[in-house]
Subunit: 335 residues, 2 copies
């Protein structure tokens, strides 16, 4: 009994040693909270989901995977104004980052998918994105013994359906959180994690009202807001926002407030990718949402703060995909 | 002195312990030799090269990287008949695998690049592939502090040029060997590594003459041969082979013999991707190159043997790319 207890204590100590001491003195009430480390519910399912996330055979062309537009080498985005889809189709909207997307109140800019699982099915069947159907995607996977085995291990049955496919992708996406940014270290009590300019930027961010929408652990992602509150936002984009979901005129041009986590990596900005740089984005937000014209010095301070929100990027082995067989439906990139 | 020697012996023992015991009794003279494990000359350079290999900012669109068509999740190929390039351009030829490509006598199907370094520059500037220029690619990289730092560490200077870029990519590609296939284990003396059908397939492969061209560690890659020796190969492809390099009429329709390593993963087959399955490829090769009509049983034995050539796939962390800055040239996917 004594031995057992001392083992438990040792384990607890080991955990404490692994966590930085600064966790001991978290900062008081701030409108932004640290990103919690990943909590994987089902590791085997997440591993399967990782393969599916990287598998271009979920597209008609055999060329486009989830990772094509939500590239995990590049902040979970494609860094393009709007995305490239099947046959080089120009997408209607900027690809939001998949990083920390589990923290969003809903998925897509207009929130039309209630969660990651529902989102994952969208692009596969969108004619302008992966241009496949759920039925054909499932048929492809079901013809690949490596997948059948893995689905059996994860779901207890080798019968693959789109429900399992999207559930596994969502499970992988839940692992894509980015804790331990410099700002989070500061939040957790490490005074030296950010410098005076960055801290001044954070103060400005709070005082100016940015924080009214960009708050919580994701620094956004928790509400829909009209793009262009004080003055209209000029754009060639035809996206109308949340009205497409609710049909409610009051929701016209309302979009999900994007997370600002890793915003240094997720350029260009806004639903139309219209702002190429962070300074430009801060300027536009100030004028159109807050009726405020930031000076260059103010903008550079806020940008300095925003760059402290870059967290640890997900680190994992590139998945090796199970090969197709003679029976697998072949991709049709040029049809 | 004595201490030093014993340390050397310990190290040697450790190495022997790590290597399977079967290395002790390698098989006698066979026309195929095992793939040697990776020998990295410069690890830091290979790490830089890995980033460049995955970086779509080396393309005009910001969407296509080396890994798009030589996908390391899929046997170093795109598993398409011919590749997709800038603006969904249909490429003229099947993308050869990058796996074990360091063993090829030259690069590309027609051998127009003498080595991996020379090859790496090709697709970047090819209007139908990445559609960029070397000058602009270098300009993009030079605007990214993360790359400047890494080039300085690797090359001793932060001055980035295409020579360094392609040298680093080539260094990474040298790591992409696939040792320890079941066939290699058999070659190294493990009798149980392949079964009787697979062994019979190997005997057929040798007796039928396949091995005349598909030999050495890469089981190919060491000569140019005419496609269609006994009877002409019918194809819609306009690729003319080695004549494009030498101007020599005798080289018309001569192509580099592809490696058969990992051939289970690198479907479809031939320079035009005309054979969807291994059985079809074996059938065509038998008839057109050897004047031999294999029975279904023979084909299935040879295919069984070919599948023993799948080696350990390169295993590495997905690289995280350094972000662009406000000064970085933006991609132009739709121009």
């Amino acid at each position: 009994m004594k031995h057992k207890r001392s083992m438990i204590i040792s384990c607890a100590l080991a955990v404490m040693a692994a966590a930085p001491a600064l966790w001991a003195a978290p900062r008081g009430k701030e409108p932004i909270q640290p990103i919690a480390p990943v909590k994987v519910i089902d590791l085997a399912m997440a591993e399967l989901g990782k393969k599916l996330y990287f598998d271009p055979r979920l597209s008609k062309s055999g060329f486009i995977s989830c990772n094509s537009c939500h590239n995990l080498s590049m902040g979970g985005t494609d860094n393009l104004q709007t995305s490239i889809g099947h046959k080089w189709n120009q997408g209607p909207i900027n690809a939001p980052t998949v990083l920390n997307s589990s923290l969003n109140l809903a998925q897509f800019w207009d929130g039309r998918a209630k969660d990651l699982k529902e989102q994952a099915g969208g692009p596969i069947a969108n004619p302008g994105e992966m241009a496949f159907t759920h039925e054909l995607a499932v048929e492809v996977l079901a013809s690949i013994p490596g997948y059948v085995t893995e689905f059996t291990q994860v779901f207890g049955s080798g019968k693959i359906d789109i429900d399992g496919v999207t559930q596994a992708i969502a499970e992988f996406e839940k692992t894509l959180v980015t804790p331990n940014s410099r700002f989070d270290k500061w939040l957790m009590g490490d005074e030296n994690a950010i410098n005076d300019t960055e801290l001044a930027g954070y103060e400005l961010f709070k005082q100016s009202g940015c924080v009214a929408c960009h708050n919580g652990p994701a620094v956004g992602g928790s509400s829909y807001q009209k793009m262009g509150v004080v003055a209209p936002y000029k754009t060639a984009s035809k996206a109308e926002g949340r009205i497409a979901v609710t049909g409610n005129e009051a929701d016209r041009f309302k979009f999900k407030v994007p997370t600002l986590r890793n915003v240094e990596l997720t350029y260009p900005y806004f639903h139309d990718g219209g702002a190429a740089t962070l300074a430009e984005a801060v300027d536009t937000m100030g004028r159109l949402q807050l009726g405020k014209t930031f000076t260059d010095e103010e903008k550079s301070k806020i940008v300095a703060f925003l760059k402290t929100l870059t967290g640890e990027q997900p680190s994992f082995l590139l998945p090796i995909l199970p090969p197709s067989t003679d029976k697998t439906l072949r991709p049709k990139p040029f049809e």
